[in-house]
Symmetry: none
Subunit: 212 residues, 4 copies
DNA sequence: GATGAATGAGCATTCATTCAT
DNA sequence: CATGAATGAATGCTCATTCAT
């Protein structure tokens, strides 16, 4: 099973946003190299010593920038999560109608996952851990912030008679379920084609699934 | 976040199949009580001491029946996986056409998850761990065995012009992606209604997503 | 480093003496296969499970014949020790004078070690363990029994003016030290030629070392 | 059986060479107290808890300085081995002829063993373990370095007609066998007189054993 | 006599975290 | 700000021994 590798520079750009400038260099170095550590062995199993060796930073520096190992994971998670949110927001912002919103959401999602596969894998890996830990409330807040505008746009679609009257709690699963499922399988090495290759088909199927 | 609790007797029946009779009693006790341990803290973080205390068995007995902690997780995983496979096979066996196959698959899935939520949560939790560990090949074999008949039925549907000509690697995501996504959210306490409540809608949406 | 291998049948004969007949078969099987286990990993590190697997006997049988693991080691040690004593006694019995006693002792020693290298290695390996354990007194008694007649013969040699007047506690080291040293090195794979190849030279050197 | 006790300060000096200065204090403390632990029960049977308690260091510190228990044993072994080598090299360096080399070697050996009996006992105890473990090659290298100059001096003696033409692989056993044998017996409490008491006799006997 | 499942004390080792320099 | 030696609680696992069958 060959797992996809993303571009280092793209990742660097994401982390630059999270810890900008000269000052943030050592912090970025830790996050950058923590990613493969966490992905390879899991958050629990990765050790501070792993992070120290790969990042070239000292133990003290890691603890200076992050409270503890969980703090490293959370910082990395939110750096990825926020970049993903930004990508989704940008794409969906100017979609003219509900179907275009769905298409934009799916497209933004698969493009982001295809561009940053390691970070995407980490988001799947860390999500439950983060949700149950001390940053769970923060995650819930940011999820709400990400999806509220989209939910509003889809609600419009329902009122306009374009989207079927479905239980609200079912919509997210119907819209992104297939896309997420394919992305997970690709990230795990169980699918060949990049998610972007199927963006159109995934968006169409999602739309047909909820269309009136 | 209230997480769903399943019936103990239903779980007992599943484990009885895996380790039958008087002889298997201590083995079953370990598996039965390992489930909440693993679900609460994760496989890595759960300790043998946790398993020992909850199951009332000795450390030696755990290691006698299972090679190591990973062995306990694998045994539990395959007990659940196989029961899920059996449920799917039973339901889909006598479906008259492709659409009925999709409906039966979705129904079997949501019913199984709703009946055994803790075991279902564990299957999601353990899947990647199992896939990457020494039982990965075994899992791949059993996945193939589970889905081969269903793939064949859907291929019929494509030939009959009922299902669109889609890339084969996309189909599983389109058929079960939404269902899995909803089940994950429900198991995590982020959705109220049991998956069974939406079985029909999930099946319809899935079918519209792949229909010609 | 290739370590020398002895003949199985020769070993079988030694153990047959220790546990004779049909009745002693399972006991012999344990001792026979315990030898390579102990030699390979050391007495402490060898496990009952090792002995069980190689010997084909059950755990219960091992504990039935020997009180515990130490008991297996002790039984094997004394089986070897006693056979070695017998070989030495036979050879030295009819030596006409002190020099012949020394030659016979060295010859008996190197021949026994060359014929039963694994057992010889075990005697070196186990000696200190046995000497310090509950069988220490027994070992001291049997050592006394082995060397008393030889010491008497050498004392004659001193009185006859053939052997120098040396401190009694020095004699054993001078007589067998070189031989033992070579045998240890050969058993450890650090020497090529069988000890028997140097029997004459070792005996001559030993004699010159103590001769008046 | 009273076992000989050496002077603590002499041992301290040896270990000071191995881990010098203020920085090496905790490392030295571990080695110093590991010696009686290993000698009393054997390397395998001695526990890290023993070492921790006697040395007053923490478990973490032991593992920080040495990779594992085997690493403690190896460090102690080589500290002793190297000091012994140095003592031998010093003594034999300015011996005028082959007989003087033999006498110097025996003298250096018995003096070192008499001065550091616990360390000497440990060298006998650990030798096979070290030889078979990951430091076996290192030991072979250092043995070669220790004995190469002495072998060269003895080879001169053979050419000069002072030493008999004996198989090369026999010489070490003839020269040091008796000495080693006596030292082992003394260290085990089976002999009273310090090896130094017999240095002259041991050297004479060794020389007569190999003289032309 | 023979068996092997069950036991649980005991062990080597790891690793997140601290804090003096 | 940076460092990395020191800490020791916690963990997975082993294995000699027992005993009911």
């Amino acid at each position: 099973m060959k797992r996809p590798r993303g571009s280092t520079s793209r990742l660097a750009a994401v982390l630059e946003l999270a810890s900008p400038g000269e000052r943030g260099a050592s912090r970025r170095a830790v996050l950058m190299h923590a990613l493969p550590c966490f992905n390879a062995r899991g958050i629990e199993a990765a050790t501070i010593e792993d992070l120290r060796q790969r990042s070239g930073q000292s133990v003290g520096t890691i603890y200076h920038h992050f409270r503890n190992k969980e703090g490293v994971a959370a910082a990395l998670f939110f750096a990825g999560f926020d970049d993903q949110s930004r990508a989704i927001a940008e794409r969906t912002a100017d979609a003219p109608d509900a179907q275009a919103v769905v298409a934009a959401l799916v497209a933004a999602y698969v493009e982001w996952v295809s561009a940053l596969p390691e970070l995407a894998a980490f988001l799947f890996l860390a999500r439950e851990t983060i949700a149950q830990g001390p940053y769970g409330a923060e995650l819930a807040r940011r999820l709400e912030a990400r999806y509220a505008p989209i939910d509003a746009r889809l609600a419009e679609g329902v009122r306009a008679g374009l989207i079927a009257e479905l239980p609200a709690e079912l919509i997210p699963a119907l819209v992104l379920g297939g896309t997420e499922s394919y992305c997970r399988a690709w990230l795990a090495g169980r699918r060949r084609a990049r998610p972007t290759a199927h963006a159109g088909l995934l968006a169409e199927a999602a739309w047909r699934g909820i269309a009136a």
